[in-house]
């Protein structure tokens, strides 16, 4: 006699699958990076309780299919070291590591590989993903967040409710510039054409600058160096049946504090405005209902934009309907 | 401490139009010049460029300047009474002592005629210095022919053959064809007693020199004048270095035994 509370099962990060009585576990891999040792746990769960297969999800987690629903408690106990290592030790508040994941609504915070490997990355994406996870998990609201090291956006931050893109303010020392023009040419070619040569030295138009840091990378003399670290926040990108669209810039040239605060505030906004008559409502659709000004007013509370920071007053989200 | 980069102001005394894009400027300047040498010419705020001295005399020098860039565009707006800044003269010119008593053939392509102009004038006034002088000059089109008046004067003093690569407009009564054709047909009675100067664009110099060698001229009797990017003119900036030589120091006039061996 199989009697399952599907709501609880799903909240525990398991899924109702097409095979009756068979579930699949979704393992969160914070920022997409983990010590290789955890793979042993994944392997053990798949082989002992699942069908021996592991699916790698788009959000950088592992989905372990073929698990009989009655095995869930056993799976959760086996999973404990993963939750301990990838969540609790990152500062995420989870009381019982043996009970599996306490929530699944707010999805795994994914991240590109960041500056631990990538030359283009402007910061440590894994670290920020950890700080965000700590701030928002566990939570049942259906929110997708991703963190990417530079405007190349390899993690597809533009497909998230909140996409965090790392920027750097390039600092120019004209005395060190030999006028080779490598930065100017490159910016025109791969970025936004924010640089031009004036009197054999480079002039940067901050309004056009993406903060990608390409000029710093291309400069042979270190005339361009890294200044302060900033972020661009793109919001409300999504796939789905109703209105797929890319996220658009909400904030740019803001610091980490502002990023974290906006994300935290967003949960208050959802709490306040979510349509509770629905089984779930994605935050993007809430913003569609309330309009951006209401969202802005809620999430920008207590935010210091700083001298460079800018917030969008109006966002033509666009996208399309099928 | 003497500063080799300091230019001095030189007043423009005369401007002569040679072609639509080439003008000759006579400057008031008291300088020691050997034909083939160059000066660094500048306008503060615009830039500086090496320009060969095309002619010189007591208290003056002349340069024939083609409008090809930022600086020369501005120079072309100057009139007598305006001035230019110059420093120099730099480089080595033509070793006239090596030409004494010889049959001298000068092959010039386009603006390459400018650095040898003073030689043509000099030998016009002192015909005994060389045994004979022949000028073979090639231009792109008849409209590009420089020093038309002087050429007419030289015709009375030296053997002069002019050719143009093409005659688009029509009506050019002279030869059409590359200068190498002139060299191939040039009567050279005593190759061993003939000395040659080749000045012009890189490709013209290369093929003309090969043609002269084919005609039996010894390599040590051929001189070329190199054109390179130069900023300082005094062997510091490095732009004109080829192999172990600096064009601004050992050149621009180089004997072919040196020039031909430079590996770039």
């Amino acid at each position: 006699m199989l009697d399952i509370n599907t709501k609880k099962l799903m909240k525990n990060a398991y899924r109702i699958t097409k095979h009756r009585g068979i579930t699949a576990l979704r393992v969160r891999v914070l920022g997409g990076g983990l010590d290789a040792g955890y793979l042993d746990v994944i392997k053990a769960i798949a082989e002992r309780f699942g069908n021996g297969k592991v699916h790698i999800t788009t959000r950088q987690g592992f989905e372990i299919p073929g698990i009989p629903m009655e095995k869930i408690p056993g799976v959760n106990r086996l999973l404990a070291p993963v939750i301990q290592g990838l969540e609790v030790e990152m500062g995420v508040g989870i009381a019982d590591v043996n009970g599996g994941y306490p929530a699944a609504g707010t999805r795994n915070v994914s991240a590109c590989i960041g500056n631990s490997v990538c030359p283009f990355a402007n910061f440590n994406t894994t670290e920020l993903a950890g700080k965000i996870e700590k701030l928002i998990y566990p939570n049942d609201f259906h929110v997708k967040i991703a963190v990417t090291g530079c405007p190349n956006d390899c993690i597809k931050a533009h497909m998230q409710d909140i996409g965090v893109i790392g920027l750097v303010l390039p600092v120019y020392d004209p005395g060190r510039c030999m006028g080779c023009g490598a930065c100017v040419k490159n910016c025109r070619k791969v970025a936004s054409g924010a640089l031009e040569m004036v009197n054999y030295k480079v002039r940067r138009d901050h309004r056009r600058c993406l903060g990608c840091g390409e000029c710093v990378l291309k400069c042979p003399t270190s005339a361009w160096t890294r200044g302060d670290q900033y972020y661009r926040l793109v919001i409300m990108g999504r796939t789905g049946k109703k209105n797929p669209r890319l996220a658009r810039t909400f904030l740019e040239w803001v610091n980490e504090g502002a990023v974290l605060k906006v994300i935290g505030n967003m949960y208050g906004y959802i709490e306040k405005y979510i349509d509770r008559s629905l089984p779930k409502e994605h935050v993007g659709y809430i913003v569609d209902r309330t309009g951006l000004p209401v969202f802005s007013q809620e999430v920008l509370q207590g935010i210091e934009l700083g001298s460079l920071g800018r917030a969008a007053g109006f966002i033509p989200f666009g996208g399309y309907t099928y | 401490m003497s500063n080799p980069y300091l230019p001095f102001r030189a007043a423009i005394i005369e401007v002569r139009r040679e072609t639509a894009v080439d003008f000759t400027y006579r400057l008031e300047a008291d300088m020691q010049v050997a034909g083939g040498q160059f000066v660094e010419v500048s306008i503060p705020g615009v830039g500086e460029a090496p320009i060969s001295v095309s002619d010189f005399g007591d208290g003056w020098i002349e340069m024939t300047i083609r409008r090809v860039g930022r600086l020369t565009n501005v120079i072309h707006h100057l009139r007598p009474g305006n001035s230019l800044f110059i420093r120099g003269t730099y480089g080595r010119g033509f070793p006239l002592e090596r030409y004494a008593g010889k049959d001298l053939i000068i092959a010039a392509g386009g603006t390459g005629l400018a650095p040898v102009k003073s030689l043509l004038n000099r030998y016009g006034g002192n015909p005994g210095e060389v045994k004979s002088l022949t000028l073979l000059a090639g231009f792109k089109t008849p409209a590009d022919i420089l020093f038309r008046d002087e050429i007419e004067r030289w015709r009375r003093q030296h053997r002069v053959e002019i050719t143009v690569d093409r005659d688009d407009a029509g009506g050019w009564p002279g030869r059409v064809g590359l200068i190498t054709g002139l060299i191939a047909r040039e009567p050279i009675s005593q190759p061993e007693n003939t000395v040659v100067i080749v000045v012009g664009p890189p490709a013209m110099m290369k093929f003309s020199t090969l043609e002269f060698i084919k005609r039996g001229i010894k390599q040590e009797n051929i001189w070329v004048s190199f054109e390179r990017k130069m900023c300082c003119g005094i062997g510091k900036c490095g732009h004109c270095k080829i192999d172990g030589a600096y064009v601004c120091l050992e050149g621009p006039v180089l004997n072919y035994t040196t020039a031909g061996r430079l590996m770039d």
Binding site: Y200 | S2, N3, S42, P44, G47, K229, I234
Partner: protein, 337 residues
């Protein structure tokens, strides 16, 4: 004379010297590397010995102290021009033996080549005193021993960082100052006697190597960014630039800035014609200058084997290996004769 000084005494010396000197040393600047989370080691003015980076090789050489990346030659107005001064202070440069040898090569070009003295260079160069940092260990890319530049002469102070303090061999008039702050010590100078990287310099290079396929290979690899030449302690090419002030177009400056034979436009004449468009040709030109052309004029090689060009090449082209390849090609050519 040799002296031992702890950090405070050394800083006492620096403080006294700073009254009449500007002191430059390799400094590690946190977060200033091109990649995020990396540091930059380069020459900066210092006030204390603790600022000096003794462990890592600097990305840029000390040449920029006497041959600044951008240097104003003349200020001009409509009517006249003025030459900027360089101040009264002397210059102290902390650098390694290879870099001291590199200055000798710069001197050759700026003070002697062509018989004219570059007054701007001389004015700065005459003020320089070297405080040589002893190389305790060779870095992987160094090949100073092959180039004969592992030893340094012509210094005022030779420093070994040891036991939390500094052992210094002092020459000339600075001895009085060191005596005041330090205690007498014994010191025998140590130089690097072997590098991991070794090069063999060909006695001559002929046309057969010039036309060889390796340059086509380098052409396909080199991106002509110029990092090798910019980091090179002996590259001394520059370009002149005239600028006018935007708020007063009648006033301006004539400057010189570093130029690189690897970067587009180096040989481009007015009108656009250039001589070495191919990146492999540029690589060969640079290599020939460093190991042959300079020697033809001055009797010794230009390259000092600091290995910075290998450290900084984003395309992982090893200049040291290129030298060895050219040498091997020449040996092959000789054998085949």
């Amino acid at each position: 004379m040799a002296y031992w000084l702890d950090m405070d005494s050394f800083n006492g010396i620096l403080k006294e010297l700073s009254a009449d000197n500007v002191v430059y040393a390799p400094v590690k600047m946190t977060g200033k590397g091109a990649f995020s989370g990396t540091d930059l080691v380069a020459y900066r003015e210092i006030s204390g010995v603790e600022q000096i980076e003794f462990k890592e090789k600097s990305r840029f050489s000390p040449k920029e102290i006497v041959f600044p990346i951008t240097q104003t030659l003349l200020y001009f107005t409509e009517e006249e021009y003025a030459v900027p001064g360089t101040g009264e202070k002397g210059i102290i440069v902390f650098c390694r033996p290879c870099d001291v040898n590199a200055f000798k090569r710069l001197d050759e070009i700026f003070l002697r080549n062509g018989g004219r003295v570059d007054s701007y260079y001389r004015e700065l160069r005459e003020k320089v005193r070297f405080f040589v940092i002893e190389c305790a260990e060779s870095f992987d890319s160094c090949f100073c021993v092959s180039m004969g530049t592992n030893r340094a002469d012509g210094y005022d102070v030779f420093i070994r960082a040891a036991g939390g303090g500094f052992l210094c061999d002092v020459r000339g008039d600075l001895a009085t100052l060191f005596e005041k702050f330090g205690g007498p010590a014994e010191m025998s100078l140590r130089f690097i006697e072997e590098n991991k990287t070794k090069v063999s310099i060909p006695e001559s290079v002929d046309q057969s190597v010039f036309g060889h396929g390796i340059w086509r290979e380098y052409a396909s690899r080199c991106i002509a960014c110029g990092r090798c030449t910019v980091s090179c302690p002996t590259c001394s090419c520059f370009t002149m630039q005239d600028i006018f002030y935007e708020d007063n177009p009648n006033r301006g400056e004539r400057r010189r800035v570093w130029a690189s034979c690897m970067i587009d436009g180096f040989t481009a004449m007015a009108g656009g014609h250039g001589f070495r468009e191919d990146h492999g040709d540029r690589m060969r030109f640079k290599l020939m200058h460093k190991i042959s052309d300079f020697r033809k004029r001055f009797g010794y090689n230009m390259c000092v084997g600091c290995g910075r060009c290998d450290d900084v090449c984003p395309e992982y082209i090893s200049f040291a290996r290129a030298i060895n390849r050219v040498d091997a090609l020449m040996k092959e050519a000789v054998e085949n004769v």
